[in-house]
């Protein structure tokens, strides 16, 4: 059996070693990507909120000018 096949065969324990590696990879990568996605979402929300506040204060200022 060629080296590669032996490697994947894992001495008969392939059914246990590879799933555990795979599950670990999936769970850890999920953590990474979920966190990154959440970071971008929070960034966008904060930006919208900051812009909304900036606009409301500028329009406020504009009204002041109109009134005074």
């Amino acid at each position: 059996m060629s080296d590669v096949a032996a490697f994947f065969h894992m001495g008969g324990y392939a059914a246990y070693v590879w799933p555990s590696m795979l599950i670990s990879l999936v769970v850890l990568l999920a953590n990474v990507f979920i966190s990154r996605a959440q970071y971008k979402r929070v960034l966008r929300q904060t930006a919208q909120r900051a812009r909304a506040k900036a606009e409301s204060s500028t329009t406020g200022a504009k009204n002041q000018n109109v009134k005074s």
């Binding site: 590696m21 909120r49 900051a50």
Partner: protein
């Protein structure tokens, strides 16, 4: 010295620091993990007793160690938050919970996958695995309590109390479960812990543990930034952050 710690209390400083360190930690973690896996799966010889199945320890043991380590970090930062009212300590605790629970879950899954070839059953009520299961419940309890209280500040303080109570109980739970498992099962099971290990097997294991630590650090740095943004959204220093303006600008 105290002034130095105080700087870690200021959000902008920590936010920028986390931003700088993030990529470096990320890449270093990737490299260490790849090297560790390469050595562990390919170079290291098979175990004379367990054959190839022992290679699962390269994932199981780091996950088990990290699951405990992360909870202790959560408890210590919760205690700091309760005693010195340092908001950032709570941000770190909240940031650590999901990844800690993931490590515990991994430790359980890989533990049972490793146990199957050796004892023929998917789950053995071994002292260590049972403690991991209870640790998983403690993580779920922390996250559930924090989600259940809608007022953010009292959710943080309630969860912090629970984390500290949990960490006080962990040794008690661990030793009672150990005692319980040896009581009911005659000690026929082989040492599930770290078998006396040949250096060529030990090096990849240490690398993998270091890799998992780096991964935890990467996640905590990232989620700490999220926590800071959420808590400091109204402050001015957040408003004129470069990424806020840029992500705002391309929106218009």
């Amino acid at each position: 010295m105290f002034k130095w710690i105080h700087r870690f209390g200021s959000a902008p400083f920590v936010y920028r620091l986390a931003g700088l360190l993030g990529p470096w930690v990320g890449w270093l973690c990737l490299i260490v993990m790849l090297v560790g896996l390469y050595l562990g799966l390919i170079v290291a010889p098979a175990d004379y007793e367990q054959g190839e199945s022992y290679r699962i320890i390269y994932v199981h043991v780091p996950a088990a160690i990290l699951s405990m380590f992360v909870y202790v970090v959560m408890a210590v930062s919760s205690a700091v938050f309760l005693i010195w009212r340092m908001k950032l300590a709570d941000v770190v605790a909240q940031a650590s919970a999901p990844i800690g629970a993931s490590f515990t879950f991994l430790a359980l899954v890989t533990g049972s996958l490793w146990g199957k070839p050796m004892w023929g059953t998917w789950w053995i009520w071994d002292g260590r695995l049972t403690s991991e299961l209870l640790l998983l419940f403690l993580y779920f309890g922390y996250m559930a309590l924090r989600a259940a209280i809608e007022h953010p500040q009292s959710a943080a303080r309630a969860a912090a109390v629970l984390a500290v109570v949990g960490v006080v109980n962990i040794p008690i739970i661990h030793y009672s479960v150990e005692w319980w498992s040896t009581l009911h099962q005659p000690a026929t099971i082989t040492k599930i812990g770290k078998p006396s290990i040949h250096p060529s097997m030990a090096v990849p294991l240490l690398l993998m543990i270091f890799g998992f630590q780096l991964l935890y650090l990467y996640i905590v740095l990232l989620r700490t930034r999220i926590g800071i943004l959420q808590r400091e959204a109204r402050t001015s220093w957040v408003a004129n952050l470069p990424e806020i303006e840029s992500s705002g600008a391309n929106r218009v």
